[in-house]
């Protein structure tokens, strides 16, 4: 993984840049000591690290605008940061960049139950958005697995998903508006409490733009009334293609479960050893969860259980109570931790058409054996968003490189069968140089033209998303 050489002229002006930032921000909002900037050297893609030139931690939209004006005037790149939980390196700095963290902006600004919305500062964590409204029976639907730590700013930047998006959609489907600061310090409001755009849907393109178009400081989010109840069933199958057929049959029957999760044998064995959830030792396991009142749950589960039985499951278990429901979810929720007990792992995020499930699993198995690295699969089967976990040993020379090469081949396979490189983690630096697999040069050029519009000097998070060779001329201009 390559990053551009830091600009020596910027490195040489560090003192001047820091002084200019200090002149417009409170004293404790600017960090430049090398011992302290190191805390910002990476995000959750921890294999890659680089301490930034400086860090600013503004407390308001106006302070964000002031900091950006300084950096804009001095030609300094800016890397926006929410909570630093990106798995794609979206918040990884370069040595000549200022990290702009929004963690100090975490207030709830407005709760409006009648209009089913909440307005928050963008540094607020995902889970604490639900926390602000759940005592009144509401919740915020997108639930990335990092939701305890991840910030709404990062969710908007990456268009984050989660386990329940089959029914509720991802961030972009639950985002009504943002206040955003452009690189030149201009503050713009996009969207609001209304449900559609009056002109071009700029909000739609900002969501998922990986911090390259502006710094989001406030977000208006859709909140929903909590369902009356939810219940999972667990199904085990002796072949993964049968599990895939079962998923299709459930969807064709007109049932829209809130989640359909899939685990394969390597993953089941690892989680059983770790969490002892009582999963059957089988080739493929599905957890299907439905929501509603007792009547509605029973009505939906009757259909789902009948479909499952028709596919000859080796195990079929409906949760009879809260305790059993928790046990069904226990293994799934421990899967990543369990795999981490075995070895270091790299988590992929490609999406495939659901119809290609068994073919892709078969190919991943073959590729894994050819390279000699184990791969476990645990993912959101209803929407085809796969999370192959490649196990490797970071202390074995060459293992990381072999793992990355296998990862790239698996993602190419996802694109080949009609899917995409990333379903919910984002491109960042991790998949940047694979973009040419999914997109033709013209497809990338028009995306980069969108960045030209919002950030003509390419100062915001510049070395991300697009292959370095494709963006070189724009970054140098």
């Amino acid at each position: 993984m390559q990053m551009p050489e830091p600009n020596p002229a910027i490195l040489a002006r560090k003192a001047e840049i820091v002084a200019a930032l200090r002149a417009v921000l409170p004293g404790d909002a600017v960090i430049d000591a090398v011992s302290e900037t190191r805390a910002y050297e990476c995000d959750a893609l921890a294999a890659y690290r680089c301490a930034p030139l400086a860090v600013v931690l503004p407390s308001s939209t106006e302070e964000v605008a002031a900091a950006l004006r300084v950096c804009h005037a001095m030609g300094v790149p800016v890397v926006p940061r929410g909570s630093g939980t990106s798995l794609a390196g979206g918040a990884m700095p370069s040595a000549d960049a200022v990290v702009l963290g929004v963690a100090r902006m975490a207030e709830v600004l407005e709760v409006d139950y009648a209009n089913r919305l909440i307005r928050v500062q963008a540094g607020r964590t995902n889970l604490s958005v639900t926390g602000a409204v759940e005592s009144d029976g509401f919740f915020y639907a997108p639930d990335p697995s990092s939701q305890l730590a991840c910030a709404i700013a990062g969710n908007v930047a990456m268009n984050s998903g989660g386990a329940h998006c089959l029914k509720y959609g991802v961030t972009t489907n639950n985002l009504l508006g943002v206040r955003m600061v452009l690189m030149d310090g201009t503050i713009v409001d996009l969207g609001g409490g209304h449900l559609d755009a009056g002109g071009l849907d700029l909000l739609g393109v900002v969501c998922g733009s990986e911090g390259q178009l502006g710094v989001v400081t406030e977000a208006t989010l859709r909140i929903l009334p909590k369902p009356e109840g939810a219940r999972p069933v667990l199904m085990g199958f002796d072949r993964s293609e049968v599990a895939g057929e079962c998923v299709s049959a459930i969807i064709k029957a007109g049932i829209l479960p809130v989640a359909i999760e899939f685990m394969d044998r390597p993953c089941i064995r690892a989680t059983e050893a770790f969490a002892k959830a009582g999963y059957p030792d089988c080739e493929a396991l599905l957890i299907v969860e439905v929501e509603g009142s007792e009547t509605e749950i029973a009505e939906q589960l009757a259909v789902i259980m009948a479909i499952a039985r028709a596919h000859n499951p080796v195990e079929l278990r409906e949760a009879a109570d809260e305790g059993q429901a928790k046990r069904i979810w226990l293994g799934r929720k421990s899967a990543f931790g369990a795999m981490g007990q075995i070895n270091d792992y790299m988590c992929l995020d490609g999406t495939i058409p659901v119809s290609q499930l068994s073919y892709v699993l078969k190919r991943i198995g073959e590729m894994s054996r050819a390279v000699g690295l184990d791969v476990g699969n645990v993912f959101h089967a209803g929407d085809g968003n796969m999370h192959p976990l490649i196990l490797y040993n970071a202390n074995t020379p060459g293992d990381l490189e072999r793992c990355e090469a296998l990862g790239a081949d698996i993602l190419k396979l996802c694109v080949e069968v009609g899917g995409c490189l990333t379903g919910e983690h984002g491109v960042g630096i991790e998949k940047r140089d694979l973009m040419g697999v999914q997109f033709a040069p013209d497809d990338l050029d028009i995306q980069m033209a969108v960045k030209d519009v919002f950030d003509p000097a390419w100062l915001l998070n510049p070395a991300k998303v697009f292959p370095l060779a494709s963006s070189a001329a724009r970054r140098a201009a």
């Binding site: 009648a114 609001g192 559609d196 755009a197 968003n385 919910e424």
Partner: protein, 364 residues
């Protein structure tokens, strides 16, 4: 006037690459929204379903395909476009067949938008020809995709001003077994929206919340037992005075809301106003309570106004926006944007359509 016709993407790209004079992009020609007198370019020849996988809830279709054909194909598998695209032919007095590309270009979304999302939320991918004559693809055919910038949302609702759509892909959903609507007649807009707000704040999955003809309407859809349960639970919560319509009777009520049937064939200017739902009745009051249909829990206001009425001045205190859907009026068709946003939109148009070919002046 001549009408340019294309039947394939490559031919369209070649035409646009060498084109210097502006074009008016036409699908079925049923949505109005015409600016100037540029030569029309029909894309109704780009037809056909490219891919349909009911078990993956995925449909890929060429942009000129008739909406009716798309609905027929989905219906055969018990599925549908969940965002409930409206038919504006009655409202606008147009004829022809609405196309799926026109639905996407206008982000045309019906009553179910309040619950499940708009056209843009179900749109998984697009192919289009930009103003340089390049064929561009964005998004794809899978439900979760954050690879690169989301130009899919940008194209939805851009009314043909950024490029000419050639192919669109959707997430589709199953048609529910049945539906029911609770009706309270003889209520004001304010009383109606208050009741809609109660319904939308429950866990009963209300999929339609409208006020039309002085009646508040709340729709429930799903499996039979579930619909009965939720209809009864909601009725208990709302109190006395509510009737229920079931099945086809319920569906007919929502077709009228979707297509704004009460305004069909009537004189006057039709405005479409989008605000925070609880502001709907306030906007009506500020305009002297004109004839109106409120959808989306109050957030979508269809207004029948006299020519020259300053809808946007009345709207200003509430935010949101107003679009003129039918009728002549000195005011711009689309809501003028604040200067920094207008500048971004203008620069995007210049990047996507540097020769100014596509529906020039329509959105500005």
């Amino acid at each position: 006037m001549n009408m340019e016709q294309v039947t394939d993407e490559a031919g369209l790209a070649a035409l646009i690459a060498s084109r210097e004079a502006p074009l008016r992009i036409v699908g079925g020609g049923t949505r109005g929204m015409v600016a100037g007198n540029a030569e029309p370019l029909s894309v109704a020849g780009l037809t056909g379903v490219t891919l349909y996988e009911p078990g993956a809830m995925t449909l890929v279709v060429r942009a000129g395909t008739a909406l009716a054909e798309v609905e027929r194909v989905l219906d055969a598998e018990g599925q549908r476009l969940a965002f409930e695209p409206a038919d504006w032919r009655g409202l606008l007095g147009t004829s022809g067949a609405p196309t799926i590309g026109g639905v996407v270009a206008g982000n045309i979304s019906g009553p179910r938008r309040v619950a499940v999302g708009a056209c843009r939320d179900f749109l998984l991918g697009v192919r289009f020809v930009d103003g340089r004559g390049r064929v561009i693809k964005n998004g794809g055919r899978v439900m979760k995709n954050v690879t690169g910038y989301d130009l899919v949302k940008l194209m939805a609702g851009s009314w043909g001003t950024l490029g000419v759509l050639t192919e669109v892909s959707f997430k589709v959903l199953a048609k529910p077994a049945t539906e029911a609507t609770l009706i309270r007649r003889g209520v004001t807009a304010a009383e109606g929206v208050a009741a809609l707000t109660v319904g939308l704040g429950t866990p009963y999955d209300v999929t339609g919340a409208a006020w039309s003809g002085g009646a508040a309407l709340l729709r429930i859809e799903g499996m039979a037992g579930s619909v009965t349960y939720r209809r009864d639970a909601l009725a208990r919560l709302l109190g006395a005075g509510w009737d229920a319509a079931e099945g086809a009777d319920s569906a007919a009520l929502w077709r009228d809301v979707r297509d704004v049937t009460p305004f069909a064939g009537r004189a006057g200017v039709v405005w479409r106003v989008s605000v925070k739902p609880t502001d709907g009745p306030r906007v009506l009051a500020a305009l002297g309570d004109p004839e109106a249909v409120l959808d989306w829990g109050g957030g979508l206001c269809w207004l029948l106004m006299p020519e020259g009425a300053d809808v946007r001045a009345a709207l200003a205190p509430f935010g949101g926006h107003a679009t003129r859907i039918r009728g002549h009026d000195p005011a711009p068709v689309f809501q003028p944007e604040p200067a920094p946003v207008a500048a971004l939109s203008a620069r995007l148009r210049a990047e996507f359509d540097p020769k100014g070919l596509f529906n020039p002046g329509l959105m500005t």
